[in-house]
Point group: C2
Chain length 488, copies 2
């Protein structure tokens, strides 16, 4: 199961290839490089991100080769020499990858994935890693936010992804359906996504169905006749409360008389809080308390939370555009980056003109502490710390990854565990791909370990990610060496 | 050249298939249906959109089939009967499509594409049409806005697309590179996009290149040695003005001594207006007025316009995230829809609870008027009018598509032409696919025919799209008939 649409070694930026050729002719290409993938800012102004896209990425890396067509195309560009193209024919990814397990909760400035590989291997894959992991992490995070909002209702609620028509291109739809499932969506409307990833598929009918019959009641009856146990009726083709709802109740009665039950109704325009309360009351009064109310129409986590706060009675939220494109404040793109941390055993760093964009040199380990929290049930995630080796020690003073002036001591009694595992070794997976259902369940468990204050939709509590003294000290030394270069 | 990643007939929403089965068993599936594809609001709060994605879509439609794997998967869902699945095995798209030529400028409420086909054919393809055309139109429009901003400099300027790492999934990157080229981008960094679409590819080097050498000057020299005629040096790994620029000038001198010229420098952080003015002055003073300045770092049309207004001297704008994801106000997704207009020769309409979401019934023609405009050079686009037949007549009172109270008479002397052509007949293209270079050139010509007031980035003049009396009258009659249904 490689990432859909991502099977070509040319899925990369041109400069990766021009640099690879440069490393090759300068004898640098086989030096061992260490690159970290991380982001600097959480999406959606939220408190966490859900890490997604790793499993298909590993499959892609295992299979990645330059085809003869690829080499011929590169030959036409006039920049690549025959010896280099011949070497690309044998190119394989042979490196090691440490990463958070797919579905885990992750935070800014910590290496989510670290590649250790010959320089020219690590360089080529930058573009595809960032493309896949940025997007799927973004959508999984959006889905988790929508699911959290939906479940905040005293009556419960679930999320269905159906953004294919507004998604950013064909794979925007396919990858989004996968990532939304990782983040907790129950199903997708996208049939090919169901086929490729084994996600449950779900759907109702469109306005065109109603318009294809002499009247709405005839259209509802025809649909119910064909799907007596799975019918969900769309109510707003003419008028939701004056036409759609009474016709749906008529069909619900006819289905029951024939030994079936109407599955649900769908609201797709108008005031969803008001319409859902009214429809719930009328359905209950008519003896149909189990008919589900599905709603759609430009939903987002904020709109879902608003509907619930006004007493809306929606059971299933169909989230389209906002989920498939991960829209809204702080959405649209995750700014993940991939930076050289070490080459040939020597720590490397870029400074740039923006202090917040300086990278962290050296080979780092990510440690995560959990602790029983008196206020909440279960063991809670407390703190992530980057070190150059072993676990952080109590009383060590650790600092903020961007501002060294912000520091705090490590308290005693925390339970430190490595946050990442080796997922690839010698270019091969260390374990078979996990199923999407396992990943979804793991993600839900990890999210439940995050403090409710950090899971809040707006103005969340900031989860702590810190640098241990060894990592902070190394950064200081490398920075001073670099600055000395241009003041010599 | 089918759309990348869009080759499966299961690239659709489940409800399209459940409806298709319903049409099939109700004997409606072969009725002639007419569906219009249109959007209601322009993206980016702008004055126009650039229509893109049509050519690959036509290729996909010509080739679309259900595979045996597809049918087997549908069989597992428990909702589809063997007779229907057997019929899908023979399913082909056999319809007719009228559409604006790819690259044309288009506006809200006009049918950009009209499908006339047996109902079950027209229904299946809704999801893939909207997915492809919404996204590519969105990105082409964003690119056109960025190019317009870049060209507003007295020194000129061009746009390079390089958003692959932040794009929405693999195809988000590939489709975006194609659509950005339609909208006027000069090149892409994405090698596979270059290979698939024949777009020029372009690139520089990354910070990792500089970090892979003992110092920045050594890294610059190694790159220039390998690419003596195409080197663009990235200046901000250590410090743009104190390290990168003097080292680049050193290398430019060494290249010239060897009979070559440095191609350019790239700025990727800091204040781009200030840095580009300073770099331009220092390069000029050192005798390198032809070294190009390329800039990147979260650029958008607004940032480009701001840099130019402050006297920035950038020749090439590398636009990544904002272009590939079509971000910014009013961006992220184009809300194109696909609505039944006629079935079996009878006009159809949906009302819904939102007046702005009602559809336009009947088979419509789109007419576009151009006129010599005294204020500006060339013939300008003036007005688009939807009729049920021939061209609008002078003195006819035409009305706004949403609010019938807003109306105006057609002046005499306008030159009316059909805005769309038949691009597919009997399921086959009526003409071979146009090249992307032709589409880009056509788009630039059409955009030049739009009034500068309408092309403005902010608060543009609204281009007129109107309903002729026949189309408006039909809508009124169908609406009254529908409303009578639930007041009976």
């Amino acid at each position: 199961m490689t990432a859909p649409c991502l099977t070509s070694a040319l899925f990369t930026d041109l400069y990766q290839l021009t640099m690879m050729q440069g490393y090759f002719f300068n004898g640098l290409h086989t030096q061992e490089a260490v690159f970290d993938l991380y982001f600097r800012r959480l999406p959606f102004e939220g408190g966490y991100a859900v890490w997604a896209g790793l499993e298909p990425m590993l499959d892609t890396l295992e299979a990645l080769r330059f085809s003869e067509d690829d080499l011929a195309y590169l030959g036409t560009l006039g920049q690549f020499r025959p010896e280099f193209l011949a070497a690309l024919r044998e190119w394989r990814f042979s490196g090691q990858i440490e990463a958070f397990a797919e579905g885990d909760v992750v935070f800014p400035h910590e290496p989510l994935l670290t590649v250790t590989a010959p320089l020219w291997e690590a360089q080529l894959i930058e573009t595809m890693l960032l493309n896949t992991l940025n997007f799927q992490t973004l959508v999984a995070t959006k889905a988790a936010r929508c699911v959290l909002a939906a479940r905040s209702s005293p009556h419960g609620g679930e999320v269905l992804e159906f953004g294919a028509r507004r998604a950013q291109g064909p794979d925007g739809a396919l990858s989004a359906a996968r990532a939304a499932f990782v983040g907790g969506a129950s199903a997708t409307s996208h049939v090919e996504a169901g086929q490729r990833f084994g996600i449950p598929v779900s759907g109702t009918h469109a306005h065109a169905w109603v318009e294809s019959f002499p009247d709405e009641l005839a259209a509802f009856r025809a649909y119910a006749k064909l799907y007596p146990d799975s019918t969900v009726l769309l109510l707003d083709t003419i008028d939701t409360l004056r036409s759609g709802l009474p016709n749906a109740i008529t069909v619900a009665r006819e289905l029951r008389a024939a030994g079936h039950e109407l599955r649900g109704i769908r609201l797709d325009s108008g005031d969803l809080a008001y319409l859902s309360r009214t429809a719930r009351a009328e359905l209950d009064a008519a003896g149909f308390p189990d008919v589900k109310i599905i709603a759609s129409n430009d939903l987002s986590e904020a709109v879902i939370a608003g509907i619930i706060s006004e007493g809306g009675r929606i059971d299933v939220y169909g989230v389209g555009t906002q989920l498939a494109t991960a829209g809204g404040p702080g959405g649209g793109a995750l700014g993940g980056v991939y930076k050289l941390a070490s080459l040939g055993g020597v720590p490397r760093m870029k400074l740039t003109g923006d202090p917040g964009k300086a990278s962290l040199p050296g080979v780092k380990h990510v440690w995560r502490a959990s602790e029983q929290n008196g206020k909440q049930a279960g063991e809670q995630l407390q703190w992530d710390v980057l070190t150059l080796g072993g676990a952080p020690q109590a009383a060590q003073r650790v600092s903020d990854p961007v501002n060294p002036l912000r520091s705090a001591p490590i308290p005693a009694g925390l339970n430190w565990q490595p946050a990442r595992q080796t997922v690839m070794q010698g270019g091969h997976r260390t374990a078979p791909a996990r199923t999407l259902t396992d990943i979804q369940a793991f993600s839900a468990r990890q999210l439940a370990r995050v403090a409710t204050e950090t899971r809040r939709l707006l103005n969340p509590h900031i989860y702590r990610v810190s640098l241990a003294p060894d990592a902070a000290g190394l950064r200081q030394r490398v920075m001073e060496d670099l600055q000395a270069q241009h003041t010599k």
